[in-house]
Symmetry: C2
Subunit: 374 residues, 2 copies
């Protein structure tokens, strides 16, 4: 089946094995998991369920990052968000994992909001829109619980005096021919789109520039952003910096369909600001079910958790393995009905969002403690 | 004869008639000159000799600028410099004229130093080099005598927080296909070069953005920069702004040859920091002469002022028409020797540079009064 995964389009039923091959990333094997688990244990934490369940499933140079860390050469984390709309649960997935990495390794995080990108690539958005959305999205980032003082959030236009000169250094080493090959640019592409990846590269070496020494960088991100970081990895050694390492996650499927959840299709997304009633309504109404048409049939034949979106979402959100396994078997055997499964997801989501929304409101007053500008 | 005039290369014997046709600019006719002369007269000034002598020879929409001005709709001036080396006499030519425009029309001037461009286009320059040169060049700009409080000098990297977001607005409306057609970009071009013209467009509308109303813009510049402003003129109306008007000058020939004076070939240039002895030595040694091989022959046959570089330079620098005409006839008749003509140029240059160098040193303390940054 055809699928597309680029930084600007994710659609179709994604074959992650093919992506691994196509992008040239590596699977995260048991050896790496064990090493990360050992570091987590020192902080009294279990291995993150997104690693246990292969949700963060691929990487580049993660072994090197751990080698350096174990030698005392601490890395920093870099991730980001394209502010094209409100934050939804799909966006939170890599951020929750990134917070865990910050907790385990006690490292700095640089969080880039690409308001320039979303303006350049979306005909319907003005710069004022993406700048406003960047500030709104930043509230969600802070609400995730990143460490104050070690977390630096910025938008590209708000931090352009620092970022643009460094982006020029990247751009000078990136030919149109390479950009075209990686991103598929053509005659119709605007010149800002063609330049943009230079801006996304900068946070991978900016802390090294600012510190005056080479610091390893680890980028947790959804796999669609990998083309940007392939380019970054190609150029940074030619500028005298380490290649950034990265760790990639799968996409949380949309409520109604396969593929990446889309903020522009309201039905397929649960927003971080949805209230409990809305969440319940959306899940009950829209979550694609792997159950049988009638209760009788379901009890007799059982449901299919592997295609059931509510179950899939629980694999991203339910930390307790035993509980999740129980759900899987109960659903498959028909003991658990589709409606009941959906309500389990609703409860999980509303539990997560209640805390998130409270912290998100408090974040309005804390923005200055995290926000970096020129 | 073949010649090339692009923003990044000027070479060969330039046919300005062909350029007018190729670029689609208009000749400045007697009607326009008369109108400008009338404005100058109100300030007690004659029409500038660079207009009288067709050195500023072409324009776009100059009539419209005067119409608006006469209706009370004041324009602002925008010009700039690519800081790839030290300032030489060739750079001063359009600046001297721009100062005159500022004096006559009493308007604001925005002066852009494109340190990003020179870094992106010159493989030998680092960003630190072009940033340093931008500051050095700014001293020359101030030394020209622009009005404090009405003159705003900035470098692209130093003002990037303001410029980059606006450049993105331009870039969104500029396809690769257009940039390729205008500038000749190809697969080998770096992505910063492709984006750059967006940065050069910004000062043509930034004052309108900042004032919240549409203000006409007049750009005095050497004709090689016209491709940038063709693009700017195409895009600005689509952003809701006036097309910027422009007025173009010829190039001061190099001391030794035809074409544009080049800061990278020291023999062909007189730098603003050259002392009197150096100027004398350079002119006497290198200025291409239209005279005869021997004094006897010169007295008998006369010299050719039309190919004599010293005479050509005087047409750019000597304000007195009668004096210049006298020189022309004296040289042509053989009464004036090549060495004597050269010494007249030396005197003119050193007169200009003595004052310039004094003001240039004073400018170090005045930089903050002119320099705009984020």
């Amino acid at each position: 089946m055809a699928f597309t995964v680029t930084p600007w389009e994710v659609s179709g039923a994604i074959d992650y094995d093919k992506l691994v091959e196509q992008f040239g990333v590596s699977r995260i094997g048991p050896g790496l998991l064990k090493r990360i688990e050992a570091h987590a244990a020192k902080k009294g934490l279990p291995l993150h369920h997104m690693l246990r369940r292969n949700i963060f499933f691929a990487h580049r140079d993660l072994k090197w990052i751990l080698d350096e860390y174990e030698k005392g050469n601490r890395f920093f984390l870099y991730t980001g968000r394209g502010p094209s709309g409100s934050t939804h649960i799909g966006h939170l997935i890599p951020w929750l994992f990134t917070k865990w990495l910050q907790d385990v390794f006690d490292v700095e995080l640089y969080f880039q909001l690409t308001d320039d990108e979303k303006f350049l690539f979306n005909p319907k958005l003005e710069l004022e829109d993406t700048q406003r959305l960047a500030m709104e999205n930043a509230l969600d980032v802070i609400a995730v619980g990143f460490k104050q003082g070690k977390t630096h959030i910025f938008s590209n236009t708000g931090y352009a005096k620092t970022l643009y000169p460094q982006a020029c250094r990247v751009a000078k080493k990136l030919t149109f021919s390479t950009a075209k090959a990686v991103f598929g640019f053509g005659n119709d592409s605007n010149v800002g789109q063609i330049f943009f990846t230079s801006m996304q590269a900068v946070p991978a070496f900016l802390p090294s520039v600012q510190a005056g020494r080479n610091i390893p960088c680890l980028i947790p991100h959804a796999i669609d952003q990998d083309p940007h970081f392939r380019v970054t990895r190609d150029i940074m050694p030619r500028m005298g910096y380490y290649k950034p390492a990265s760790v990639q996650c799968r996409f949380l499927p949309g409520l109604t369909e396969d593929g990446k959840m889309s903020a522009s299709k309201a039905d397929t997304a649960i927003y971080t600001t949805d209230d409990a009633r809305t969440v319940r309504k959306k899940v009950l109404k829209h979550a694609f079910s792997g159950g049988q048409p009638t209760v009788e049939e379901h009890r007799a034949k059982g449901g299919d958790p592997d295609i059931d979106v509510s179950y899939q979402w629980l694999t991203f959100l339910e930390e307790n393995d035993a509980k999740l396994t129980q759900v899987y078997h109960d659903y498959k055997s028909g003991r658990l009905l589709s409606g009941e499964l959906k309500l389990m997801l609703v409860e999980k989501l509303n539990g997560l969002l209640t805390g998130h929304q409270k912290r998100r409101e408090q974040a309005r007053k804390r923005l200055d403690d995290f926000w970096v500008k020129d």
